[in-house]
């Protein structure tokens, strides 16, 4: 079963996202700040990360950069779906430059999120 890590400092949003992804048959882990999110990536080696941008301690962009710079090529290739209110053109440029795979803009539709997660997951090496 594919494993998705959801990192969002808003527990209500994180719970809702986790609920929708579990309904897809995915295994989901939730973390509520960037630092613990990055630690969880190393610990759990998820197939995909759904990542908020604005978070305490370490923001989503820093997490994304750290992940892409990881010495382990498999970890560095983990797809990252940014779920964020920062969705203006310059934000998208910064996000993609940091290594984001795709964006879902807040306010978001959980149906769109599910579609984008589905699209990102097949790219994961078996």
């Amino acid at each position: 079963m594919p494993h998705v890590l959801v990192v969002d400092d808003d527990p209500v949003v994180a719970d809702l996202v986790a609920f929708r992804l579990r309904r897809m048959g995915l295994e989901v882990t939730v973390e509520t700040d960037g630092e613990s999110g990055l630690a969880a990536v190393h610990r759990l080696r998820p197939d995909l990360v759904v990542l908020d941008w604005l978070m305490p301690r370490m923001d989503g962009l820093e997490v994304c950069r750290a992940l892409r710079a990881d010495g382990d090529p498999a970890l560095a290739r983990t797809p990252v779906l940014m779920l964020t209110a920062k969705s203006q053109e310059p934000d998208l440029e910064r996000g993609f430059a940091a290594g984001a795979t795709d964006f879902v803009a807040k306010p978001f539709s959980t149906r769109e999120l599910v579609s984008r997660v589905t699209a990102a997951l097949p790219a994961v090496p078996a």
Partner: protein
């Protein structure tokens, strides 16, 4: 010695007791907080189960019957969601009476309650309460007025544009930025009203309408904007907003009035706006006026003219090179502009 030892022992004992009491109190606070957090988490999990059911088209009565805490969860989620999820939450808030209570709160004595009610109605109530929200634009509290303006923008009824524009010039005017964002939220259906305002509105409304039609790239507004731009009776900020809007719209048909203002008007800020607009439009027909502006004593005007000539591309560069070859003060300014211009060729070769 003995007479001093006894009070010291008592003081030490009292201090020790105080420390113990303090430690116990801190431990009690921590325990209580941990219990509260655990209870809140458990409560949230129960409420989220109701939310999940709601978003899965589940039992509507369960949503209506859920405890009052659900309102906070729904109100928290509402601005985060869109589409069918958002509609489901809006319906649930209406069925739970939250919208009706917000309507009642529009008359509350506390400003925070009026502001919260306006915000909530903007997110949930559709167009049913437009008149009440419009009336709130004249509220005694600026925070409430701003909340009402944002709410009207979110409701999205084009009819709100008149109240929003009028709020710029009442006894308690709203900040133009807040009104502008709300009017932008109303989208292109309000463009006819904004075009009319360019002609008949107050100066503040004309300036804001010019800004918004420019941001929408409304070509039809071009002639009215050009009228405002070239009319010396108009306030400077209105003319400047018209210049900027014409630049954003980008119609080469605006080159002549912009060039006329750049050459003939003595107001540096307006001339600068005209030069920037000419650069945005990119019509080589604006080059002579921009070249003449290069030697303007107002540095911001000269700099904007130089930037605009560079923005014209090869035609602008040719005009600058020709002027530089002829020398004199204009030639020196043209040469300096060319020197400062970015050179894509260097970047490619780097």
């Amino acid at each position: 010695m003995n007479s001093l030892a006894a009070p010291a022992a008592v003081a030490t004992a009292v201090l020790g007791v105080l420390v113990v009491v303090l430690l116990v109190a801190v431990a009690a606070v921590h325990t209580s907080r941990a219990r509260r957090l655990a209870a809140a988490q458990e409560n949230r999990a129960e409420l989220m189960a109701v939310v999940y059911d709601l978003l899965d088209d589940g039992d509507e009565q369960a949503v209506v019957d859920a405890p009052a805490d659900l309102d906070e969860v729904l109100l928290h989620l509402l601005p985060q969601l869109r589409g069918a999820d958002r509609e489901a939450i809006q319906t649930a808030l209406t069925r739970r009476g939250v919208v009706a209570r917000a309507v009642a709160d529009l008359d509350a004595r506390a400003a925070w309650r009026r502001g919260r009610a306006a915000t909530l109605l903007g997110s949930t109530a559709g167009r049913d309460h437009l008149a009440r929200l419009t009336a709130l634009l004249a509220d005694r509290s600026v925070e409430v007025r701003c909340a009402a303006a944002r709410a009207l923008g979110r409701v999205g009824d084009p009819a709100a544009v008149h109240g929003l524009l009028a709020s710029l010039t009442t006894a308690r005017p709203l900040p133009a930025g807040v009104v502008g964002m709300a009017v932008l939220d109303l989208g292109t259906p309000v463009l006819p009203a904004l075009r009319a305002t360019l002609v008949t509105g107050s100066p503040a409304a004309r300036a804001l309408s010019a800004d918004v039609v420019g941001l929408h790239g409304d070509v039809i507004a071009g002639p009215a904007l050009a009228e405002l731009l070239t009319d010396p009776r108009q306030p400077e900020d209105v003319r400047r907003a018209a210049a900027t809007a014409l630049g954003r719209i980008g119609d080469p048909g605006s080159t002549d009035p912009l060039a006329e203002v750049l050459v003939d008007v003595a107001l540096p800020a307006l001339r600068r706006a005209a030069a920037e607009a000419l650069g945005r439009i990119g019509d080589p027909a604006g080059a002579p006026a921009l070249l003449a502006g290069l030697t303007c004593p107002a540095r911001e005007v000269a700099a904007a003219c130089g930037d605009a000539l560079v923005a014209l591309g090869p035609e602008g560069s040719a005009v600058l090179a020709d002027a530089a070859a002829r020398g004199g003060p204009l030639g020196a300014a043209a040469a300096a502009t060319l020197d400062a211009a970015p050179r894509p060729g260097l970047l490619v070769g780097a």
